[in-house]
């Protein structure tokens, strides 16, 4: 995963950017555009979550709450109080980041499964608040009438226009992640996952880094939430329940923890699958469960990485076993 990928990565990014520009022109079916928009939103969340899970090795089952906070903050502040939408997106990210800090700071001192429970518990509390503070949030029937985002006279009111909006953000989130991963901070995060004690003795303030990456991943989710709110113009607590938290974690795992593109791949694959199964909604839960279970049992490094590491292992084997016969 090193320097030779750097050049290839630039090529991939260029192709990716071209795809973003060209797809809405080539694809006319509105339904496909909508699905791709959902993939885009999920990609933003999953790429951020992957930094936490795949690189720093910390699990959160609470990211639905951050996604929801972004959505509700944008929705309520712009619709009810008339805040300007774009600054509110940033404000929502900051507020969500602060909430993440307060939850993350004590949680990340805890070991693995305690962290899982803390984030899960937190996200359930947030969801309950979404439902019960119905005066502000609209309660279980949801919050309608959210304004679209706009730049000057360009209003992002169609699926087509939102495609460009969402995917531009997704592109920059992926780019930022790639930058982070191949840097001092990225290595420090991987070091925390590799051996927290060793990382500490090499000068990495592991507690601070874990909290920071947690906050960062929450801010990514918040951004996606705001974009979602201004796109669909209607949100409800059901979009931000703990099933969503499990779904995004599944996307990280299936895509391969520790790979930025893997996160995008996982988000795409599972969003599409979810759409296919949406037709028969009652199959959604079991399908999610089965996929997560099977991937974890047989390809714990994720689908892409699992195959990649099989390839690597094959390569190393052919290096280590020299031909002895003469």
């Amino acid at each position: 995963m090193f320097s030779f990928i750097k050049k290839r990565e630039i090529l991939v990014l260029v192709i990716f950017a071209l795809a973003i520009i060209l797809i809405p022109i080539a694809v006319k079916n509105k339904y496909y555009i909508i699905v791709m928009n959902v993939i885009g939103l999920n990609t933003i969340v999953v790429v951020g979550l992957n930094l936490l899970i795949g690189f720093a090795g910390q699990i959160s089952l609470g990211h639905a709450a951050f996604y929801g906070l972004g959505a509700y903050l944008s929705a309520i502040l712009t619709t009810t109080y008339g805040f300007p939408p774009w600054p509110t997106v940033v404000l929502a990210m900051i507020i969500t980041g602060m909430v993440a800090y307060f939850v993350g700071y004590p949680s990340l001192k805890l070991k693995g499964h305690y962290l899982v429970m803390a984030t899960l518990g937190f996200s359930i509390i947030v969801n309950i608040f979404m439902v019960e503070l119905d005066q502000i949030t609209g309660g279980p029937s949801g919050f309608p009438g959210i304004p679209h985002l706009s730049i000057g006279r360009l209003v992002f009111d169609s699926d087509f226009k939102n495609f460009y909006l969402i995917w531009t953000f997704a592109f920059f989130c992926i780019l930022a992640s790639l930058n982070l991963v191949n840097s001092r901070v990225g290595r420090a995060l991987k070091a925390i996952d590799g051996s927290e004690i060793a990382a500490n003795t090499l000068g990495v303030d592991t507690d601070r880094y874990k909290v920071k990456v947690f906050v960062l991943s929450a801010m990514f989710a918040s951004l996606a939430g705001s974009l979602y709110a201004h796109y669909i113009v209607f949100i409800s607590p059901r979009n931000f329940d703990f099933y969503y938290s499990i779904q995004v974690v599944t996307m990280v795992i299936v895509g391969g923890m520790g790979s930025v593109w893997g996160a995008f791949f996982g988000a795409s694959l599972l969003t599409v699958l979810s759409e296919i199964l949406h037709v028969a909604e009652k199959f959604n839960i079991i399908a999610n469960g089965v996929i997560l279970t099977l991937v974890l049992i047989f390809l714990p490094e994720g689908v892409a990485m699992g195959l990649f590491s099989l390839y690597q292992r094959w390569k190393i084997r052919s290096l280590i076993v020299p031909p002895q016969k003469n």
Binding site: L110, L120, I128, V249, I285, G289, V290, L292, P300
Partner: protein, 294 residues
Amino acid sequence: MDFHEQIFQYIISGLTIGAIYALVALGYNIVHNATGIVNFVQGEFVTLGGMMMYTYYTLFEIPLLFSFFLSVATVTFIGGLIERGPIRVAKSKAIIILVFITIGLSSTIRGTALLVWGPDNMPIPSFSGEKVIHVMGAAILPQHLWIFAITIGVVIFLQYFFHRTLVGKAMRATAFNRKAASLVGVNVNYMILLSFAMSGSLGAIGGIIIAPITTTSYDTGIMLSLKGFSAAILGGYGNSTGAILGGLILGVLESLGAGLISSKFKNAIAFFILLLVLFFKPTGLLGHGEADRI
């Protein structure tokens, strides 16, 4: 009903649901002590217990006692199957992966339950009727008494099992030090299998005895499982007395909170308590500082 009687009523219903939390918490502890895994399927064991009971007792009209044992046996079997199957076969033995496998399995089971039984709530008749008993001004159902009695019975049995039988002691040995246990001849794999099976039994019993009061459905398990886990942490994770204490305290606090403060946020109470415990005293009330801080 005057104030004291109301409080007492809340306490009774709190203890009732608390008993279920306690059973779920005990189930978590058994698996965690033997394997280090948090078994998220625990909640589905509760669901399945109730659903099996519905199937055997209400649908097939098998007599109560047989239904009870059949249901427990079925879920115990499923618990063992989970260990023998997915857990054993998993390529990675990393604990966090196994924990996530249990999360995946729990979704799988829940999804299956949804397909098999549908989304509706299933009613189960009370074990011995609905005639209200009045104690100190509070109304108690016979089912409440069944819940207390059976829970106490289970706890006594577990005490006996873990401290007086060879198998139970072997399980404790495995939990304490797996290598040492295997060196003295304990079949560690069997102990792990047993721990999953037992957590199945405990979950099932919990689900069965509460079902007549709360009805049961495919997603009963989630909330119970999460709150049961909170109870385990509250009492001190890994500690059986803690599990019982945690369960009862959580149940009562939840009931009192819902009754006195606000019923809208009832579900949030358990998780607030969870977060408070995790943030300020992760070892819980009775925990022995299991290295939960890195």
